[in-house]
Subunit: 209 residues, 2 copies
């Protein structure tokens, strides 16, 4: 039996939030991964430089086993979008995993799914996540029951490997990690606000909205 | 003046090869990043689960400042595609950087661009890269003059941060790293053939072609 995974996309999403997990989760044996959106069709990313195609409208896939909501400026309107929030709440009733990357957590929170739950988001949005009812946690990958959330953008890869291990076992996750040669070696060590110079932290914080 | 970056895509590409670098390079101030293909339009990835849109045909952007070729099974036909190889050779004459991720290096090699040059690719394809005339190197990011190549899939993120530093300075690259919260923390340490169990190495090697 296949495991149906739905990644929700929208205009002005941050592509890597969705594609990091896609690259991992789509490699799980038996996974059937689909990109869904309010309306099917091409969505442009937050930089404007790329179109990603949603093959299905939300109405065409209402009971996925796994849901993933990525981040990006374009998800702010979803915080007040009754159709999307209803779809998430309904799907969440039956999912085995409900997940988010980066500010995707804000959308889950707006749907009420994170009320009182431990969750994370991009470091610049932890306070906002708390305001929306979650117990915001400054960790890279956070699990609370069947909810799993990742910190900003690239953290979705770490979350997806964790999720792959939960779904299909450690060996499958490890094989996927080897297949995508995920042996990270960034040229700098400035990937978190605790490690980066404070002027960079201020710069990024002021550019987020 | 803008820096024009062209990412070559094609059907059956590995999405993260392209999207990791896209997420980094598109954030360089003044960068104008475009997805190009033999013919403009939507290309389906190697899993079949995603469409990525190429906005421009190769004939519409012949003199980019930076070229990036991603990997994926779908690039094998390009190794004998005169139009693509000619486009790469012509572009390479004027680029400031010519780059590849994963098996994208095979395409650069087929174009003759890597003759006698140090370069890398996905670990399972190093021998093939050598056969195509490059000096294959088992490192995560390799520079030789204006050519920069990355190992498999996720290594494109590390390469792109290195490239961003060369193009725009360390501070810009560090700010981008913080923005995408790239403070990697994989749940396993199996991301390279040196670190993974040998049965996993054999499994992945047998599945690559």
């Amino acid at each position: 039996m296949s495991t149906r995974i739905a990644i929700l996309i929208f205009d002005e999403l941050t592509a890597l939030d969705a594609i990091g997990p896609y690259e991992v989760l789509s490699r799980i044996p038996g996974a059937e991964l689909r990109f869904v959106a309010k309306e099917a069709g091409v969505k442009r990313t937050d930089t404007g430089a790329l179109g990603l195609e949603a093959d299905l409208a939300l109405t065409e896939l209402t009971d996925p086993d796994v849901v993933l909501v990525p981040g990006g400026q374009g998800n702010r309107p979803l915080l007040e979008d009754a159709e999307v929030l209803d779809w998430l709440r309904t799907a969440h009733e039956r999912t085995t995993w409900t997940t988010s990357v980066c500010t995707g957590a804000l959308v889950l929170a707006a749907a009420g799914i994170l009320d009182g739950k431990r969750a994370t988001t991009h470091w610049a949005y932890l306070e906002r996540l708390e305001q929306l009812g979650a117990e915001a946690v400054n960790e890279r990958v956070v699990e609370d029951g069947k909810i799993m959330s990742a910190a900003g953008v690239s953290a979705g890869i770490d979350m997806a490997l964790t999720l792959a291990a939960r779904m299909a076992g450690d060996t499958v996750a490890q094989a996927i990690q080897l297949g995508i040669e995920y042996d990270p070696d960034p040229p700098f060590d400035t990937g978190s606000p605790e490690k980066a110079p404070s002027e960079l932290v201020d710069l990024i914080r002021s550019s987020e909205r």
